[in-house]
Symmetry: C2
Subunit: 199 residues, 2 copies
């Protein structure tokens, strides 16, 4: 009987984490409490608190779980990326897709709340640092470039900064039509820059 119970526990946990991300993105930081998330996930408050005693436990676990899931997906999908021509734009498009998705909108609510809450800021900073480094490494790998070249590093960082700005521009309105042209042009410029560093 242990196995099914462990499975149920894992399913409950995952539903809570997914509901947390949706709740943050839709309702913001202040409205995302363990009780609200439990209701949204169809889980009792007691069961939710068994998994996540505090709101910070829940929100940290949700951001980490969703980020790691996203990165795992990105690694698996990388086999479909075109080789040679078209690879740079495909990588940039996928990257920008991550930054305009629900996870980014959820993280933005937490980061913004942290700007005016020193205690929250302390536990958000290591997450931000880890997410930033992992995303950068992933982009370098997928582009197939030399991550030790400082010019390449800065070009990839600019791409992540651009993606973050595009994510912000998509917060209140659907910005996808305008964004497509910006992404297309930047990918072409990035491709020229990276090509010049003899990939």
């Amino acid at each position: 009987m242990r196995e099914p119970q462990q499975d149920r526990s894992r399913v409950t946990r995952r539903r809570l984490l997914e509901a947390t991300i949706d709740c943050l993105a839709e309702n913001g930081w202040a409205a995302t409490t363990v009780g609200v998330v439990a209701t949204r996930a169809g889980v009792s408050r007691g069961a939710a608190q068994h998994h996540f005693p505090t709101r910070e436990d829940l929100i940290t676990a949700a951001l980490e779980y969703m980020f790691d899931t996203r990165m795992q997906m990105a690694r698996e999908e990388a086999v479909d990326l075109p080789v040679g021509e078209g690879r740079t734009i495909a990588v940039v498009e996928r990257l920008v897709d991550y930054y305009t998705g629900t996870l980014f909108k959820a993280a933005l609510q937490v980061w913004t709340a942290a700007a005016s809450d020193p205690a929250l800021r302390e536990w958000v900073l290591p997450l931000e640092d880890r997410f930033g480094r992992t995303a950068h490494r992933m982009a370098v790998d997928q582009l197939g470039v030399d991550g030790s070249d400082p010019v390449v590093r800065a070009a990839v960082q600019a791409t992540l900064d651009l993606a973050r700005g595009l994510g912000l521009a998509d917060l209140l309105t659907d910005d996808s039509a305008r964004r497509a042209e910006v992404v297309r042009q930047w990918a072409s410029s990035l491709d020229a820059q990276l090509g010049a560093r003899s990939r």
Copy 2:
């Protein structure tokens, strides 16, 4: 006796608007009420409410006043921009300075709150639209490029998106050292793109 009273009234108004921006950037949307801002500005609550009957009046006026002041300063400072070589990087650096300043941090709090508040979203959207168009026109003017060329338009938009992303990266930590290199390289790439469109 009318003149001095009008002056006092104008000073009071300006102090309230500046305190609103500081309060939003430091304490966030929820904590920025007419009462808190009045205290911060050293103005009586009654006087504050005389100028701004509602919190939305106060915050809209503050964002508009600070944005217009910033843009006016940018226009005045444009005479100091170098002509020819070095102009692109100087324009991009100033632009990024705006997006890493207090006004951006204040606006970010309002935009983020608007993501989970449909009524707030309705009055933020026209502001976001106006600010975006004005900043784009200003950047096109300062770069001295042809704003009717779609390639130029998208390159300038990407630069504003990058600046927004860099502003977000600067929210919780001082990101200025990393940013300097990203901006330098971006400006060099932008300069090549714009140069190729025969400025």
